[in-house]
Structures are given as C-alpha cells and as structure tokens.
Symmetry: C2
Subunit: 346 residues, 2 copies
C-alpha cells in the first residue's frame, strides 16, 4: 500500500484555519489505499517569540524526511519585517533548492475580477525561486547616518536560469497553446537581462513547437490588465515573479484563490505548497478566511506527487463551488472546506 | 519680456509626430510676452546608426543651456536592447541628476479603463530617478558559458533617498487628501528596504499632517487594480516606480495619456518631460499616435517652470477633449493636436 508523508506548517494568523481545510479535502480525495501521515511543525511568530528560532538545521533535517510540505501562512506584525521572511520562508526555499516557483492563474466561471468584461485568463507563471535579488547579497555602510549606503545584489547564474527556463518550456510544450513569454527588464538590467535572454533563446531551439515572446516587466503589467488572455506560460526572475503573480492573482479572482508550489523538480528535497496570500492577522481566528487557495495548493501538491486524477478532482470541485457562490450568504472557512470535501469524495 | 528656451528631442518612431503636437499646444497656450525658442536635437536610433553616438559630453553641454527638455520617444528595434536606454535615456537622467521622476495618474471622465466600474483614480507617483537597480552597477563573468554569473547591484544612499522622500512629502502636504504611501519590498530587500523605511519615517516627523502608509510592491499591484482610489501620493524606488507607473497608466486611461517629468528640483540642470509611452514603431509615421501624453507632459513642463495657469489650461483642455471623444471616429495625431491648441487658446 502507498503512503503520503506530509509536513504541515500552519504558521501564523489564518494559516491554522486554512490548513485544516486543506487537510480535510486531502483526506477526502485520497484513495483508500494511500496511508496519509502528517506531522505538524510550529514555525512562525509564536515560536520565534518564545525561542528566537525561525528555522534551525535540525528543523531542516526533520522536514527533509517528508514527501512534501503544506504551509498555511507565515508572518505577524509583532515580528520585525524581514525576520520571518528571510529567516523562514526564503531560508526554506533556498535550503531545499525550490527553484521552480509555480503560480497558476485561472479565472474560473462565476468568479469576480476587477477587470471589465470577463476575460479568459488561464496561464501559469514559473518564477525562479533561488536567485535574483532574493539571495540576501548586499549590505549597509554607515547605517543610520546621512551617509548610509545600502546595496542589494541580484545574482543570476546560467545554471540557475537554464533549469527554470527549461522547466517553463516543458510546461509550455505540454499545454494546448504552447506559448511562453520571458519577462525581464533587459534594456536596463543589461547584465542579468542578457543572461536570461540568451539562455532563453538557446533553450528555445530545443522546443521548436513553443511560440516565444519577450516582454519588459513594466509592459507586462499593462498586458496583465488589458490582455490577460494573451498569456499561456510565463517564465521570470524571482522579484519580477513576486510582483506579477500578485497582480495575476488580483485579476484572476484574488489572492483568496491563488495557489503556489515551491518545487524542487529533482526530488532531492521535498517541495512546498502554500497559498499566495499572507497570514491576514486582521481576520484570523474568526472563520472568515477563504481556504480555497490552500485547497488548490493541495491540488498542486498532489499533481507534483503523481496523483493527477485526485488533483483534477480538487480543481473541478473548486470550480464548481466557486461557480455556485453567486449572491449566496458568505460561508465560514470550515463550511467551505466541508463543501469541497463532500464534492471531491462524491 | 520673458523667454522659454526649450530643447526638443523628437527621437524615434512616433516621437516626431507627438512632439510636433506638444509644441503646437505649447505655442497656443503661452502668453504673448513669452518668447519661445526651441532647438531640435537628433538623438535616437538614426544618429546612433550613422555615428555610433547616443549622447556625448558636447551634447550634454548643449542641453544644459536650455530651460527644459521635451522628449518624444527613444528606441527602435534596429538597435540592440539597452543601447539607447542606457546610452541615452538613463545617461541623461543621471547626468542631469533627475532624481524626481514624476508620474501623475488621473482617470478622467469619459476615459476607458480596463477596470470594472469607474473608480476615482487621482494619484501621483514620485519615482526615484538616479539610484536603485538603475545605476548600471554589476557585471558578468564567464559570459556565454554554462558557468556565467551576472549581477545587478541596487545602490541606495541616504542622500538620494531622503531628497526624493522629502519631495514626495511636500507634494502630499500640498494636496487635499495629504496621503503618502511608501512602496518597497523591505521584507526581502532588507538592506535597501530598511534605509528607505527609516528615512521615510524620519522625514514623516517633519510632516505631521501627512498620513502615511507602507506597502510591499507586490501588494501594491493588487491595490492598484482593486482599490486605486486609495492612493494619493506614492514614493518609491527607481525599478518599483518603473513597474507600478506602467500599471498605473494602464488602469487610468492607458499609456496614451500618461505624462512624466524627470525633474531636478534644484534647477542645477534642466528637467526633462516625456510621455510614458515608447516609440511604437508599428504605428509610426501614420498619424495614428495619440499626442495627449506629450501634451500633458508639456503641462508638467510648464508647471515646473512656474506657468501654473497655462499648465492648468492644458489639463482642462485635455480633460474636455477626452470627455467628448465618446464613440466619435478616431482623429489623426495632428487633428487631436489642433483641437487641443484651439481649446487652450480659446
Ligand atoms: C513573504 C515574501 C517573502 C514572499 C516573497 O516575496 O516571495 C511572498 O510575497 C510570496 O510571493 O511568496
Ligand atoms: C525605456 C526605459 C529605460 C524606461 C525606464 O525603465 O525607466 C521606461 O520604461 C520608463 O519608464 O521611462
């Protein structure tokens, strides 16, 4: 019999609530013969305040033993900005070499969008996850004085760019429209821009069926609101990916339904799946959070582990649930989770 | 009698056409006693191909003599990406210390927006123009090999950040709503982010009437499409400013009406005014380009030089013109310019 050994990190704010629903739906959709084991970890603001720890070497060792990681949300106003982001979220992405940060954007029928009309949005962003301006390179001199200088260094390697570009081409190749856009700012960031562009053009030769285009990141934000239907697969740098995936989420139903995977395709380390939204401390503990983004992250997790049929069942259940929301009264976090669990089981 | 001595840089693509209309409206609006002198410069793709030059020291000396600079657009597909951007546009901004890059976003009545509803959009972005990831710092090793490493260094100084933050506070203070948002990514880019945040908080103490908020750049893209009315003045870094002002233009009527100023508030060097749009080579020479963004850039130029009443007349003329477009047949570039010239003169 098969088994699925999951690390669960509820985290802060609404994290606990949405992860509970994610697990509920996971249990409901998994085939009988799959033994689900979960172990909960206490990362986040509470542990940081109690111990000063964000993510230790021992923690990383423990996490390594799992097949995958499901995360709710990490972050709390009581912790100085950057501490949990750099000390936990980014540390984990870097330690487990999560270089493919996968963020699908699909506007489902019946879902509200701030855009006029109901454009057909169905694309996926492949964001690089281990390089660029996220490396923590840089520093500060004369801190706090009028002569302070602070630098941030974006580090880009042929190795790091090529593997994520190749992943994106393979994804584009597997989709009906077979389109891939590279988003960068190669007219200004010429060093990194030329590396990205050259690698992209080189790998493109191996995928003659994929139609490619290049777009500056500033222009891309325009197209994301005026012609979102033009995109199929997008590949981009860590920071540009951070920015455009929030915009993509906003136009395709909001961050309440945006899922993401921090993937190590080699399998050398477990991949991590999380909603794009944050910990939303203002609504935490009230049963108001929409668990849909977490449930869709569970679908990404299942697909990553080879449970394609189960992933599709979740996605169809979510689509049906969203399509029927209409003007009905708002449901609680667990009511939405219950409804999705019933659908995937049925 | 007064004089206005203008450097005019039509540039590439539609630049020539839109600048002609900008000058037409400028002539029509200027008081009789102001002697307008213009000198045209041939920067752009043509000169680059003919001479290999983008902007020489002698050019900079010549430009220095003017009260201000009006630019159409620079850029052509025949020139490798980055050459004119770094060699002309950014070189000029850096040489003339254009640290306040001013980009107003106002959705005028009757103007189409990709957003549902007709949100009230009226904010201005103060983008830093001489630092951040735009400095050209960085480099490449092992170029073209599988071991290539390319870096980009974002350079941020207390001096550079404080002056632009101070400018933004003063602008916020002068507006009815008196709101200022700092946009950065201080939870990841912690070196630069802390510098920006600390300087911002320090300067805020001098402007107790201004309401401030901080927002991550990724979250800001969400608010720009879901709650654009929340913004009044935004201050941000060079790259984030580049990205969000294109998005801001897209939601508030498109880059056809987005104006910008590259301002040196000290007056040590002339400031430069230009539409946010590019050279649009696909429609160049056909009289199809909308000169409105250039005309609005002329208004920014006039306000910068103290011609407030004239600037307002142009803005009102543009608002009236846009408000009456409705379903009328499209007019040519010069027809729109003519109509605006008549309005501002009347
Ligand atoms: C919280 C932050 C470190 C993170 C990022 O910038 O990657 C978040 O915005 C995201 O997109 O997952
Ligand atoms: C053309 C390019 C150098 C420029 C920039 O990135 O600043 C443009 O996008 C702009 O916003 O003025």
């Amino acid at each position: 019999s098969r088994s699925l050994n999951l690390a669960v990190i509820p985290g802060d704010g609404i994290g606990q609530e949405v992860v509970a629903e994610g697990l509920k739906v996971l249990s409901a959709v998994l085939p009988q013969d799959v033994k689900l084991e979960t172990k909960e970890y206490d990362f986040g603001a509470k542990r940081y305040h109690a111990t000063g720890e964000t993510l230790t070497d021992a923690d990383l060792d423990a996490l390594k033993a799992h097949d995958a990681i499901l995360l709710g949300a990490i972050g709390d106003p009581s912790v100085p900005s950057g501490v949990l982001e750099r000390g936990f979220l980014l540390k984990l992405r870097f330690a487990f070499d999560h270089h493919v940060n996968l963020r699908p954007s699909k506007l489902l029928p019946g879902v509200a969008t701030p855009l006029a009309g109901q454009p057909e949005i169905d694309f996926v962003v492949v964001r690089e996850g281990t390089e660029g301006p996220y490396t923590g390179n840089g520093g500060t001199i004369r801190k706090g004085t009028e002569h302070e200088v602070a630098t941030e260094v974006s580090v880009n390697t042929a190795y790091g760019v090529e593997r994520v570009v190749r992943d994106a081409f393979a994804r584009a190749q597997a989709r009906p429209r077979k389109k891939l856009a590279l988003i960068h700012k190669n007219n200004v960031l010429t060093f990194a821009g030329h590396l990205w562009t050259n690698v992209f053009n080189k790998v493109a030769e191996e995928f003659p069926e994929v139609t490619t285009e290049y777009m500056h990141v500033d222009a891309a934000t325009i197209y994301l609101v005026t012609q979102p239907e033009r995109f199929d697969v997008i590949v981009t740098d860590n920071l540009f990916g951070d920015i455009i995936t929030d915009l993509a989420a906003a136009v395709s139903g909001g961050i309440g339904v945006a899922a993401s995977g921090n993937i190590n395709p080699s399998g050398a380390f477990p991949s991590m799946f999380e909603p794009v939204h944050g910990s939303a401390p203002d609504i935490a503990g009230q049963g108001k959070a929409d668990p849909t983004a977490t449930v869709l992250s569970v679908a990404l997790l299942l697909r990553h582990l080879g449970y394609d049929a189960e992933a599709t069942r979740i996605e169809e259940a979510v689509a049906a649930d969203l399509g029927e929301r209409g003007d009905k009264p708002a449901r609680s976090t667990s009511e939405i989770g219950d409804a999705l669990a019933v659908r995937v089981a049925g």
